[in-house]
């Protein structure tokens, strides 16, 4: 059973502290992780960096991440050139 972590609607520098703490705990636990970012309405570089750092560390410990991005997050990943490296974690893009 994968643990699910839900991102707040605003994944901004002012709010990344909490999620960072929770994701560090998630790393110390076991099993796959689902990060539900479907409700994220705003994201900045700090939010993006946190998601990416988590994905990277999780991959190092051979665990998989399922990221469920909102359109905003998907768009931000693309702008930051992270779509390719994160593609294995991304849920299928819903048909538009």
């Amino acid at each position: 059973m994968a643990a699910t972590y839900t991102c707040p609607p605003e994944l901004m520098i002012s709010k990344v502290g909490d999620l960072h703490d929770r994701l560090v705990e998630a790393l110390q636990a076991e099993g796959d992780v689902i990060v539900d970012a479907s409700a994220v309405e705003r994201i900045d570089g700090a939010g993006l960096q946190l998601l990416y750092a988590f994905a990277k560390d999780l991959a190092k410990s051979q665990r998989s991440l399922h990221l469920n991005p909102s359109p905003v997050v998907r768009d931000a990943l693309a702008a930051a050139g992270l779509t390719d490296v994160m593609s294995h974690t991304l849920a299928e893009e819903p048909p538009s």
Binding site: S14, Y52, A53, K56, L82
Partner: protein
């Protein structure tokens, strides 16, 4: 690192800076609109918009980002010379500033979600921007050489933000999106510096990027994207030969869907481009990096800190008066030394007091800055051509006074434009220049600040004013009033002579409120008007509200203080000149006028010494209703007193404006003349000019 710090302190800084930025933008736009702006002004407006966008982005204030982005795009084209200035652009950008202000207001009130920008405005800005794109390369000869190079180029950009880039309010994501806006991009993210999650400070930036950009923009445009972070990142921008153009990556969602250049630019050699720091110094805006060189700079000081200092100085003043008193009483041998010491202390105290008070002083230009916009917008709305001249912007006033005088001034200037200045046609018929003038000046006069608002409009029609006052029953048709007294009627509630009630002013509210506000500040307002030539309003304000020059007087065993500015004269009254009006009201004949006489002991419920008028003194003071005689037992000295609020320390008391501590440590109450006259029931309508003239 706490969230509280970020959302609290940084948020406040953001709000203050955005406020300043909007102000700067507005001033710049008005200069451009008036044709007095140059490229420096355009650049400073653009930069202000850019930082507002950046700040808004940091706090996730999407509506602000969206709107400033639109404004910025348009400004960018003006800056680059691909679009020439028009008043239409000015109006659209000024509207954008208004919307941004109201968004900022909601943020100030604690909201994280300011209202969405109006789609009408966005569309307006967009169409102005688009229009420029279509028109620029061919039809408009551009003053900027940058526009000539419209061929597509390839840039290789290495962008390595320093760790603190995000914490200083910048967002790499926004910068990358900015690049996207310039053309088609291929972004590669590098995570070499990214620490493991446990060691990661999520507010530091650890990622770096390499961007390949194909664009018709110039290297300066690319550099401009990073203009605000050049000290917070390592940046290299290289121009690459166009033939090597990499196709845009499939995931790059570039809004400008251009295919990479097929025709390589003939002369485009793969020249490495200078890093922006050097470039900005060499580019056509050399003033930017040193823009603060001539500026003495300023600091933001929390008002509560200043207030604490002011309080401390107040205590010091009290100690000094105590010592001063002691020196008069102590024995002769130590007297000289004590006196010298006290004199020294007095000097130091005064200097310190003045220095501290200066910290609270702000130039009145802060308020004047609101006016050009007002005059411009009003002028357009009313179809009048009005020029605003302001002088004495550096005249300083206490912050509290300044805040309270702002609205009255705006109202008065609005009145001048609306009622004072005539329409251009009428002005020409009258042989006046078509363009009307409203002039506002500020200056120091003694211990007060004088503000004059002058217009060269039609002046106040005294006869119409009189007719209206009679119609409303304010004066009797037979009343003979001097011109000044008639003019004074404009401050009466409910009187306005505007022929047509407009939505700007002329509803008859305002002038009375203006005068009340000014009086509450311890100031006064006077009106002078010459028919056909214009109106002049003169406002006198105290420099500060915290310390006042007081006239001390005695009632029984108690000492009271009266603000010295309101004292006109004092004299020994004579019973023969007193008349009783019934209901306890008395008037005193002062030369050829009658003034109400207030027995202060009675009003304050004290046993006064002076039973007969000749045993006491009469202090004639200014009041909202004109001169009033205050009957007191004895006049004492004059001294500066530090005002302590009654409301804060005790509670509101009618007839008392505050309290102070005297040199001997006793408390003295400060008499509040306006509320005393209200207590006494002095009627304003009987004496619009304060004093009614004697028939004799």
């Amino acid at each position: 690192m706490s969230n509280g710090l970020f959302s609290g302190q940084l948020r406040n800084i953001f709000i203050e800076e955005t406020d300043d930025g909007l102000e700067l933008m507005e001033q710049g736009l008005l200069q451009l609109d008036a044709g007095t702006g140059d490229s420096d002004v355009v650049n400073s407006v653009f930069r202000a918009a850019h930082s507002i966008k950046g700040g808004g982005g940091t706090f996730g204030l999407t509506p602000m980002v969206q709107l400033t982005h639109h404004a910025e795009s348009l400004l960018d084209q003006i800056r680059l010379g691909t679009r020439s200035w028009s008043s239409e652009i000015g109006s659209a950008l000024l509207s954008a500033i208004d919307e941004l202000r109201s968004m900022l207001e909601t943020v100030r009130n604690g909201s994280d979600a300011p209202p969405q920008p109006s789609s009408e405005l966005l569309a307006r800005l967009e169409s102005l921007t688009d229009a420029a794109f279509g028109a620029a390369p061919n039809s408009e000869p551009s003053p900027s050489p940058k526009v000539e190079v419209a061929t597509e180029k390839q840039f290789h950009i290495d962008f390595s933000p320093h760790a603190d880039l995000m914490a200083t309010g910048n967002d790499p994501l926004l910068l990358l999106r900015e690049l996207q806006r310039l053309g088609s991009v291929h972004v590669t993210c590098c995570d070499e510096r990214l620490p493991p999650m446990e060691l990661l400070d999520p507010r530091d930036c650890h990622l770096t990027w390499t961007v390949r950009l194909s664009t018709i923009s110039t290297v300066e445009d690319v550099q401009e994207v990073f203009a605000w972070v050049e000290d917070e990142c390592d940046l290299e921008i290289r121009e690459e030969p166009a033939v090597d153009a990499a196709p845009p990556a499939p995931d790059a969602e570039a809004p400008v869907a251009e295919t990479p250049a097929t025709a390589p630019a003939a002369g485009a050699a793969p020249a490495p481009v200078q890093p922006p720091k050097d470039a900005s110094a060499a580019s056509n805006e050399p003033s930017r990096p040193k823009k603060t060189s001539g500026d003495p700079g300023s600091i933001r000081v929390g008002i509560e800190k200043v207030d604490a200092l002011v309080d401390m100085v107040g205590e010091l003043v009290i100690t000094q008066s105590m010592l001063s008193q002691l020196s008069r009483e102590s024995d002769a041998s130590r007297l000289e030394a004590l006196r010298a010491g006290v004199q020294q202390l007095e000097r130091n105290t005064r200097e310190l007091q003045e220095g501290v008070m200066r910290m609270r002083m702000l130039p009145i230009g802060v308020v004047f800055a609101r006016l050009p916009r007002l005059v411009r917008d009003l002028g357009r709305q009313l179809g009048k051509d009005v020029e605003l001249i302001t002088t004495g912007e550096t005249t300083e006033l206490d912050k509290t006074v300044l805040e309270k005088i702002s609205d009255p001034l705006v109202h008065l200037v609005r009145n001048s434009v609306d009622h004072g200045i005539e329409g251009a046609d009428r002005r020409q018929t009258l042989g006046k220049p078509a363009r009307g003038t409203v002039e506002i000046t500020a200056s120091h006069r003694g211990g007060a600040v004088l503000i004059e608002i002058r217009d060269d409009g039609g002046g106040i029609d005294v006869e119409r004013l009189r007719a209206k006052a009679v119609e409303r029953g304010l004066i009797a048709p037979s009343d003979e009033l001097e011109r000044a007294a008639l003019l004074d009627l404009i401050f009466h509630p409910g009187l306005s002579t505007a022929e047509a009630v407009s939505d700007i002013s002329g509803r008859g509210v305002g002038m009375d409120v203006v005068r009340r506000n000014i009086r509450e500040l311890g100031g006064s307002i006077e009106v002078n008007s010459t028919p056909g030539e214009g109106t002049r309003l003169t406002i006198r304000l105290p420099l500060t509200l915290a310390i006042l020059d007081g006239q001390l007087f005695r009632l029984g065993a108690q000492t009271y203080v009266l603000p010295l500015v309101s004292v006109i004269e004092s004299l020994v009254p004579h019973t023969t000149r007193l008349s009783a009006l019934g209901a306890g009201a008395e008037v005193y004949r002062l030369r050829d006028s009658f003034i109400p006489l207030l027995r202060l002991s009675k009003l304050y419920g004290l046993p006064g010494d002076a039973r007969r008028l000749e045993d006491g003194l009469l202090i004639v003071t200014e009041s909202p209703q004109g001169p009033v005689g205050l009957f007191v037992d004895e006049l004492l000295g004059q001294q500066q007193v530090v005002i302590k609020s009654m409301e804060t320390n005790f509670g509101r008391v009618d007839g008392v404006a505050g309290a102070t501590i005297l040199g001997n440590g006793s408390v003295a109450l400060i008499a509040d003349v306006p509320s005393l006259t209200r207590l006494h029931g002095v009627s304003p309508s009987r004496a619009p000019n304060g004093a009614q003239h004697c028939a004799a």
